[in-house]
């Protein structure tokens, strides 16, 4: 069984901000990466800056951005069709079974997702919980490793430090290119960085240069 990494996040751009550097290092080694993206970020607040999207055009715009970002990263994309902001109201078992269909087909060596309860956005927490539940559906001996990403302000205090800390500063230009692919979302965020920094690559390195994960421990 060869290595294959599956990234499970709910929103177009979660992969860019959260794991683009880590994904790049896997792709450099020739390891295939599949992104299971839960929603199209239909309810995002960012509409570009200056605004060019509306609530009704945003889904198609973000879909195109997502496809482009996955081309930048050279990864396979599956769009799962949930609606932004609503994943936590779905049945966790149903979402897990849906994710398991993909995992059972791919038989990944590693799954990257959000750390439930420490991922701030309700979709992150719910999709991370469903992803971990999906991995649990494999017999214990066949389970891939899970790297869970915590972004809450309290995660180090409550969980201890993450055991995986990938310094991706050497991959920052690729990460930045991935973020830029999500133009409707990146405009506003990068604008504030640009205004405060002379060198956007240096500023981004400081902000996004490390990608951290906790290896999930199954009971």
């Amino acid at each position: 069984m060869g290595e294959h990494v599956v990234v499970i996040y709910p929103h177009p751009d979660d992969e860019a901000f959260g794991a683009a550097g880590t994904i790049t290092t896997f792709r450099e080694k020739g390891i295939p990466v599949t992104y299971l993206c839960g929603t199209l970020g239909e309810m995002g607040r960012n509409m570009g800056n200056p605004t060019f999207a509306t609530r009704e055009t945003l889904p198609e715009i973000r879909k195109a951005e997502l496809i482009k970002a996955c081309e930048v990263l050279d990864i396979h994309l599956e769009m799962l069709g949930y609606r932004d902001k609503t994943i936590e109201f779905e049945s966790t078992e149903d979402v897990a079974a849906h994710l398991f269909q993909f995992l059972n087909e791919i038989k990944p060596s590693l799954v990257i997702t959000h750390y439930p309860g420490h991922a701030v956005h309700p979709d992150h927490n719910a999709f991370g919980a469903a992803a971990i539940r999906a991995v649990e559906m494999f017999p214990a001996a066949e389970r891939p490793t899970v790297w869970a990403q915590a972004i809450s302000n309290t995660h180090v205090e409550e969980l201890g430090g993450p055991d995986i800390e990938n310094d991706v500063s050497d991959r920052i230009s690729k990460k930045l290119e991935t973020i830029m692919a999500h133009k409707s979302q990146a405009d506003g965020m990068l604008k504030s960085v640009k205004e405060e920094a002379d060198d956007i690559e240096l500023a981004t390195k400081q902000w996004l240069g490390v990608e951290s994960f906790y290896t999930w421990e199954f009971n």
Binding site: M43, R45, N46, M47, G48, N49, P50, T51, T54, R55, E56, P59, R83, K85, V120, H121, P122, D123, S152, N153, D187, G188, K191, S192
Partner: protein
């Protein structure tokens, strides 16, 4: 979208009166409000594809932003802070207000056909 021209927008609102219409109403300050500022609160609400008929609708100016009220037989629909509008190619009336970073704060949208789920 473009800055509100109150006379034209009022005409658009009038054109949907006394018809069965679908409403998208939303307000949000984002899922990260209290993450980035511990003194802030996350608050938001949306309704997508509420089917209503309003008897009268009115837009009222409030400086650079506006309020819109739609009077129903047994209630009201209200949005505050809209500043831009657009009648899109599907003849849907989109109204929204954005903060200075271009992020949506409030949206009220009216259509004779359901908004895509």
């Amino acid at each position: 979208m473009q800055p509100i021209e109150i006379d034209q927008l009022q005409q658009y609102i009038d054109a949907f009166a006394n018809k069965e219409v679908y409403i998208h109403l939303e307000t949000t300050n984002g899922a990260y409000a209290s993450h980035f500022n511990k003194d802030a609160y996350n608050a938001g609400a949306f309704i997508r594809n509420a089917q209503v008929t309003y008897q009268r609708g009115k837009i009222v100016g409030a400086g650079s932003t506006y309020r819109v009220g739609l009077k129903l037989e047994i209630g009201w629909i209200y949005a505050e802070g809209v500043s831009q509008y657009e009648l899109d190619k599907n003849n849907r009336l989109l109204m929204a207000g954005h903060d200075r970073e271009g992020r949506l704060m409030v949206a009220l949208q009216i259509s004779e056909t359901p908004f895509k789920y």
